[in-house]
């Protein structure tokens, strides 16, 4: 066979194989899979990093930059991005109705996981996280690019926000009262116990210490391995079962501002398939709310300092 036709055929086969993969990739993709699918037109790659200048100084080739503080939230009202805002954002990133969207980012994929949660609320299908995020991609010495991708506008149309996927403050209070949910607090043990109200250095804080009454504490980091990848589904299942999260009751996850809890939401909902809602108001709302049930094991009293 002529070399030209041979390579054409090989290319067609490879494309066919990867496209078939892209439609059924599960909740996580490996760095290896992503590198071999960088040219795959079905795949749209989005970086959600929270540190400024990270994307620009080197991102996975073909990725579009999404800025968490302005793109995925409403910058005025405390809320997730509106349907119109997010739809425009995804179309600019070249996302079509049948695209496979891969999200990744810095700080352990926290904000990428937030992005996956927001996409879930608006009914976007075929979304996966790059397991290990930026950190693993860089650690493995894989290539980076510094120019943003120029992609033709996509045609994705979002559904109305599905409020069943999101827990609001009254839902959390009702869940505490009824005792029919498992509430997972993924913050550090010191925040959970009330020894500290927020970790060192964070200004967004609360005027009460402790946790949502009845919540169990499974710090988010227990769900990941040393290199930043999620633990295996079996390990995750055992880890959460130990804390009483076994899928028999619906779950609510929360943290301080809702981004790290998106990471645990992803593990429980997308990897283990449990019924999970993320409470994005989290402790910065709950710890400031009036008249809600709080458990403060350490007894720390807020003194205005």
């Amino acid at each position: 066979m002529e070399p030209f036709f041979r390579s054409l055929l090989a290319g067609a086969l490879a494309l066919g194989a990867t496209v078939a993969n892209a439609n059924d990739i599960g909740p996580l993709v490996t760095t290896e899979w992503l590198e071999s699918n960088l040219q795959n037109p079905e795949v749209r790659l989005i970086e959600v990093s929270v540190n400024p200048g990270v994307y620009e100084r080197g991102h996975i080739p073909g990725a579009t930059n999404v800025v968490w503080h302005t793109d995925l939230v409403d910058p005025v009202r405390r809320d997730i991005a509106s349907k119109e805002q997010l739809e425009g954002l995804l179309r600019n990133a070249g996302v079509n109705q049948d695209s496979t969207v891969i999200l990744y980012g810095d700080t352990n994929n926290w904000f990428a996981a937030w992005g996956a949660w927001v996409l879930d609320v608006y009914g976007v299908e075929n979304v996966a996280l790059l397991d290990g995020g930026r950190k693993l991609w860089e650690a493995e010495g894989r290539p980076l690019a510094t120019s943003p991708a120029a992609l033709a506008a996509g045609n994705i149309a979002l559904k109305e926000a599905n409020t069943d996927l999101r827990a609001l403050l009254p839902d959390v209070v009702a869940a505490v009262d009824a005792g029919d949910h498992v509430i997972v607090d993924i913050r550090s043990p010191d925040e959970f116990s009330g020894k500290v109200i927020a970790p060192e250095g964070f200004k967004e804080t609360a005027i009460r210490a402790g946790h949502v009454s009845g919540a169990v504490n499974v710090p988010w980091g227990k769900a990941v391995q040393e290199d930043g990848r999620f633990r295996s589904p079996e390990e995750l299942k055992a880890l959460y079962a130990e804390a009483g999260v076994d899928g028999s009751k619906p779950v609510i996850t929360y943290c301080r501002i809702g981004e790290r809890s998106s990471h645990t939401w992803y593990a429980l909902k997308k990897i283990l398939g449990y019924d999970v809602r993320n409470y994005d108001g989290s402790w910065t709302e709950y710890g400031n709310a009036v008249g809600v049930p709080v458990t403060n094991l350490a007894g720390t009293v807020w003194t205005g300092q």
């Binding site: 540190n51 200048g53 620009e56 100084r57 860089e138 510094t146 943003p148």
Partner: protein, 376 residues
């Protein structure tokens, strides 16, 4: 070149190499620290070899109408503007979206900026250098610069103490103006280069004969190299600047001593030489400045410019006071001649031009005051 020049130059070069190999590969933001050291060393070598000192350059003009120093600054701005245009066009293809390119020094245009730059210019005249030149002079053995830099640290603390009032009464309502947002990348570069070209022509026409100090690199060469280093720095590390680490050290010390208010309003959200409370021992700006001083020391020794000199006792108050002015000005203006004039103008920030004009006015005022004092 004699042995007693080569040996100390080699020692400083060796120190740079050891540090380069010993530094952690990345800072907490993922920026490569060894690259920061290397670029700092290159910056120090070029500053020292071409005597790229904002005060000396301005004073050459005030005294003799010798334009070569100011033309060197224009050359740096032109070369850097082209480099920043290449990068900004790649990082932010559409500049009209309201976003700013990452960590570029595009500050609010305010009275505070102008006042800070004016006082900084005065401080240059009083202490005999801007902050970057005090750093490279350390490498030449000018121990008086230590006193000026200590003064600058105190000036930073005074800046922090005045910050909340300045923020509430002025800076909060100031606008951040990035020329490419209005003119596009190409239009902003064209305007910047046109302004630089016009100033260049004026200097050439009004100036007396241009001359480079003996034994130094031509100013234009130094300027173009600085534009190149600034471009590389923005690409890999962050915009060129020399005050962030000094400001951070002052702020951290002042916080520890309980001198500062609990909150410095809005400060950490602004673009410029960030002066955050220190969390990591090694910051990219600290490493850059260490590289600068060591590079300048190696260059000074190799070239025979190493002239250790202790300041006269009667000069100590002047050096310290000038340093205080430099520190206060650099704090409230969010950077100095390097961080605001160079990095700001190169990237298309109006704040860079405002700083340049006010700083020059301050330097000229300082020049006049010194002249009056000497004639009395």
């Amino acid at each position: 070149m004699t042995f007693n020049r080569i040996l100390p130059a080699a020692v400083f070069l060796g120190a740079l190499i050891v540090l380069f190999l010993a530094l952690p590969a990345r800072d907490p933001l993922g920026r490569p620290l060894p690259v920061a050291l290397a670029l700092g060393a290159a910056f120090g070598i070029v500053l020292q070899r071409s005597r790229f000192c904002f005060w000396c350059n301005a004073a050459d003009w005030f005294r003799d109408r010798n334009p070569s120093g100011l033309i060197a600054i224009l050359a740096a701005l032109a070369a850097g503007a082209v480099g920043h245009w290449v990068i900004a066009g790649a990082w932010l293809p559409d500049p009209s979206t309201g976003r700013l390119p990452p960590d570029a020094h595009i500050g609010p245009v305010s009275l505070t900026l102008a006042a800070g730059a004016f006082v900084f210019g005065l401080g240059m005249a009083v202490s005999g250098s801007c902050i970057s030149a005090h750093f490279y002079r350390l490498g030449e053995g000018a121990y008086g610069s230590v006193i000026a830099l200590a003064g600058a640290a105190v000036g930073f603390v005074l800046g922090f103490l005045s910050w909340n009032w300045l923020w509430l009464n002025d800076v909060i309502s100031a606008r951040v103006i990035w020329l490419p947002a209005f003119l596009g990348h190409d239009g902003a570069l064209a305007l910047t280069l046109a302004l630089i070209g016009a100033l260049w022509l004026i200097l050439r026409q009004r100036g007396a004969g241009a001359s480079t100090p003996a034994g130094r690199w031509p100013g234009v060469l130094g300027g173009v190299l600085i534009g190149f280093i600034a471009t590389l720095a923005w690409f890999r590390i962050g915009p060129l600047g020399v005050t962030a680490e000094l400001g951070s050290l002052s702020r951290t010390a002042a916080v520890d001593l309980g001198l500062l208010p609990d909150t410095l309003l809005g400060l950490d959200g602004l673009r410029g030489c960030a002066t955050v409370v220190k969390e990591a021992l090694l910051s990219r700006n600290g490493v850059f400045v260490v590289g600068l001083v060591l590079g300048a020391a190696a260059a000074a020794h190799a070239a025979g410019d190493w002239k250790p000199a202790f300041p006269a006792v009667r000069d100590v108050p002047r050096l310290f006071l000038g340093g205080v002015m430099l520190g206060w000005g650099a704090m409230v203006a969010l950077g100095c001649t390097v961080g605001v004039i160079l990095s700001g103008i190169m990237v298309g920030a109006l704040s860079g031009w405002v700083f340049a004009v006010a700083c020059l006015a301050g330097a000229w005022t300082g020049w006049r005051l010194r002249a009056v004092r000497q004639s009395v």
